[in-house]
């Protein structure tokens, strides 16, 4: 039997075993999910604070880029102007609602933090969390959720909006946490796509320490 034939036989046996194994797992009670099911998530509505000089209509050509100054939070910091979200067309005046979907930016996340007391989950490495994290954020990684029911879930509420973040950019950890949380009944899920660096860069509330992380280990 030639060398190439042996290589092909090993490859074919492995491919057959892998495909059969995948059928068994995907047909079972714990199939592998590749991402969150955005269709069954619930958007979070928040009020867009009135800009300075209230009474003037927002710009209609690019409403998402209109600078908006929200009410100051407990930290007294004033966040930056870049806001996403979808402006509710039923309320086009200066005090309308924003409907926030699955992927949001740090400024949107701050509005959830400030107005609704959203719960934040940090999906980075433990040492990164200990060095600094969003004020009040819980440490939660995909590995913790895969291995069972992390203790931190006992204090989290599926009825509150949940914002998950990691380092931003190509980081997938926050999306992976979201897909597992969906299985635990969380529907108001948001991923802060520009990550912790954007939160810090905007001057939003942070804290450091491992106490909260260790308390739920």
């Amino acid at each position: 039997m030639s060398f190439l034939t042996r290589v092909l036989i090993i490859g074919a046996v492995a491919a057959g075993a892998g495909i059969a194994h995948s059928w068994v797992v995907q047909a079972g009670d714990k199939p592998i999910k590749l991402g969150v099911d955005e269709g069954s998530l619930v958007d979070t509505k928040i009020r867009r604070p009135a800009p300075e000089g209230a009474g003037t209509a927002p710009q209609t050509d690019a409403p998402e880029e209109t600078p908006i100054l929200p009410e100051p939070g407990d930290s007294g910091d004033v966040p930056g102007p870049e806001l996403g979200g979808v402006i509710d067309e039923q309320s086009p005046d200066t005090d309308g609602e924003i409907s926030l979907g699955y992927e949001i930016l740090a400024d949107d996340a701050y509005l959830l933090f400030d107005q609704l007391g959203a719960q934040f989950l940090d999906a980075r490495l433990p040492e990164e969390y200990d060095t600094g994290h969003v004020q009040g954020a819980f440490f939660m990684t995909p590995e913790m959720l895969r291995e069972g029911y992390p203790r931190a879930l006992e204090v989290l509420s599926p009825d509150l909006p949940t914002v998950i973040y990691c380092v931003g950019g190509d980081c997938e950890a926050s999306h992976n946490v979201a897909k597992y949380l969906q299985d635990f009944g969380f529907q108001q899920l948001h991923v802060m796509t520009d990550g912790y660096p954007a939160w810090v860069g905007a001057g939003y509330p942070t804290e450091a320490g491992a106490e909260q992380r260790l308390a739920f280990e």
Binding site: R6, I10, G11, A14, A17, K30, I32, G169
Partner: protein
């Protein structure tokens, strides 16, 4: 002792130091592959997430991610077992080397794109290298490939299943 009619044959040589060294190389290269495969097969969801992290599979091709999640560890397992047993040694060693070089390429592409992720090579276990993906993982895989290169070139030695099929018949020089 004769075989093939009246033709004289050589007795099967006893395994020497070379065969023992080859066995060690096969055990190391194949054994590590079996270990890595077992970790991945025990946590396919984790390996699937590691594959997603590399962002080499296009959006909408989730089935390729699932395929890779299961076929890659099975290929590691079967090639690793063949290498350890010394069965089809050169073929299985070739698969091991090619896969490791492929992993090196993937890790290098992640470093080049400045991606902060874990390779999922050994699951949660930090084998030699810890923390996010870096040059340590490239070097580790490169050394592993170099170890597998030895049985690829030299074969199984006399301490492998391939040696059972050893047929040292000498040709009669007067025959065609």
């Amino acid at each position: 002792m004769t075989d093939h009619g009246n033709k004289p044959t050589l007795a099967r040589p006893k395994p020497g130091l070379g065969s023992v060294l080859l066995l060690l190389f096969r055990l190391l290269a194949g054994g590590l592959f079996i270990f890595a495969a077992a970790i991945k097969l025990n946590d396919p969801a984790g390996f699937s997430e590691a594959i997603s992290g590399f962002k080499v599979i296009p959006e909408g091709a989730g089935h390729l991610n699932i395929l890779a999640t299961f076929v890659v560890p099975w290929l590691e397992l079967i090639a690793g077992v063949c290498l350890v047993l010394g069965l089809w040694t050169r073929a299985s060693a070739t698969i091991v080397v090619v896969m490791l070089l492929g992993f090196c390429g993937l890790i290098y592409s992640a470093i080049y794109r400045e991606m902060e992720l874990t390779c999922g090579c050994f699951g949660k276990i930090d084998f030699v290298c810890d923390g996010p993906l870096g040059w340590c993982s490239v070097i580790r895989n490169g050394v592993h490939a170099a170890v597998a290169l030895v049985p690829l070139i030299a074969g199984s030695g006399m301490l492998g299943l391939d040696a059972l099929g050893w047929k040292p018949c000498q040709r009669d020089p007067d025959e065609d």
